[in-house]
Amino acid sequence: MRIDRAPGERRQLALMLAPYLIGLGGLVLVPAVITLVLAFTDYDLIRPPQWIGLGNLAGLAEDPIFRTALTNSLVFAAVAVPARLVIALLLAVLLHRRTTFVGTARTVAAAPYAMPEIAYGLLWLWLFNPIYGPINQLLQIGGKDGLTALRRIPPQWLTDPTHARMAIIVMSLFTIGETFLILLAVRRALPPQVYELAAIEDAMSWDVFRRITLPLMAPVLGLLLLRDTIASFQTSFVPALVVTEGGPPPYATTYLSLFVYRNAFEYLRYGYAAAATLVMLALTLVAVAVQWRLIRRAQRLYGL
């Protein structure tokens, strides 16, 4: 049944919605549609675009750099997203009680998220420096001649391809502030009687976590997993640009977002970049669809 609205009220509603709708249309929807169209053209931002059909997509399929970027992005998403979620969850479960210094600990856990991304990247550039950076200084404690205590060469964070990929993931593990705060709020909202009952039944802390906390937080965890997967194609952009500049060769930390950025604004292959964006979007949709199905199945299993 519909509720009757006064005619003035209708106009008022439209007026109040207008700024948002105009912004959404002008800044998001229209550019998105234009990008979609440009993906099928050859366009260098100077001369008018020329329709080339699926030419860009065919080009992408044969481009080894694009394939590297795709793999890098998928590996980053597969490793960093679950790892970030697990760390945020453990911190939330650890720090949900009111105890001494818990406020300080929560602030510390959330703080890196509040840092500007560029500053955060520059900080890690120093931390990762293989010679005077604190990380490798720490790793060299107990070793001699610049080796670690296990007589291994410390990681060459910015010059070895594998180590550089690890470095980008390590960087991402500390900016979990927002996820941590959400999970902290969810954990604190769980009914205390359920935990008291578990205590009376003498359930061990692992059982409590595995059989009570985890299932009760699962719906939110699933949602955060979806969100972070969608965001992961973007979160690798600034670190890769600032810290590793897409290298070391061969394109070890060139992720899809960086690939798109370079093609569009450095090589002026706008149509090509738009096609890559399209692939990114399609991948995101597939990832979300798969996870959504998994989450729904888990929910049915738990009857949530």
Binding site: Q193, A198, A199, I200, A203, L216, G303
Partner: protein, 341 residues
Amino acid sequence: MEGLQLRQVCASRGHREVLHGLDLAVARGELLVVLGPSGAGKSTLLRVVAGLEPATAGAVVIAGRDVTRLRPGRRNVSMVFQSHALFPHMTVAENIGFGPFVRGESRHEVRERVARAAIAVGCGLLLDRRPDQLSGGERQRVALARALVREPDVFLLDEPLSNLDAELRAETRGELKALHERVGTTMVHVTHDQVEALILGDRIAVMRAGRLEQTGTPQEIWQSPATTFVARFVGSPAMNLLPGEGPLRPPGMAADPERVVGFRPDAVRLSDPAGADCTGTVYRVDVIGEDAHAYLRIGGDTVVARMPTTTRPAVGDTVAVAVRWDDAHFFDARTERRIAA
């Protein structure tokens, strides 16, 4: 041997002490109802017994074993919460079997014990359902079955009936009593409902502000309340308590401001002008089906009388008031304690 014994137990919430040196003994197999208004410390008492909150002083002894320093899981108690605290993501069977399961009993054994407990409380057909598919009464049964499955030394029930509607509460009350008689385990039942306490309890402990006011059988609590607080708290409408120097006092008793005279609404008669003690003005009449409660003003005091609805006075009437003084109670006005007539 006692099923449960508290010796000089103190407990605090924050910096405020909420239990002040409580002494309480519950015989093995007895059903003790802890009765009191909210904020009296009833729930804290239960939580201290369960170990969910520490006793800041004194000792908790369960079945002859000093458990004061043991963690909740080592005390062998079961607890039913007011909110039932069922696990929403588990089936009824998993809920009931949670305790035995996490304590590492075999799958087969857990299933058998779950079935037995479920049948004992009459939820044997619900085992595959989830809590959100159950009614309030069914959840109540599941919570009871979960407590029962452990075969504990003491059952702790924290206002388990207060979330049920009136009809269901009366029904479940009866089943709870029958269940207690069948399993014969020591039970401590916390409630603020005096009717529930009178019906259920083998004995009742009345609490007020972290102290025990009186402990006794329902009959003792009813017939000889130890303090004015107990007298007022047990019985509805509450007992009339009047100053000893007022117009309404038993024949032969001199005006005595040190005394408080108490009599229940049933002991007040309005119809008999001959042997009347005094007169009063009716200012309010509540009709509850066949029962009517008339509120009278006598001088500066208020008196409640209870009568069949058919014989009730009208508001504004001036009526003759007679009291059946055989059933009167007397209290010290200063200490609020009972004194012999």
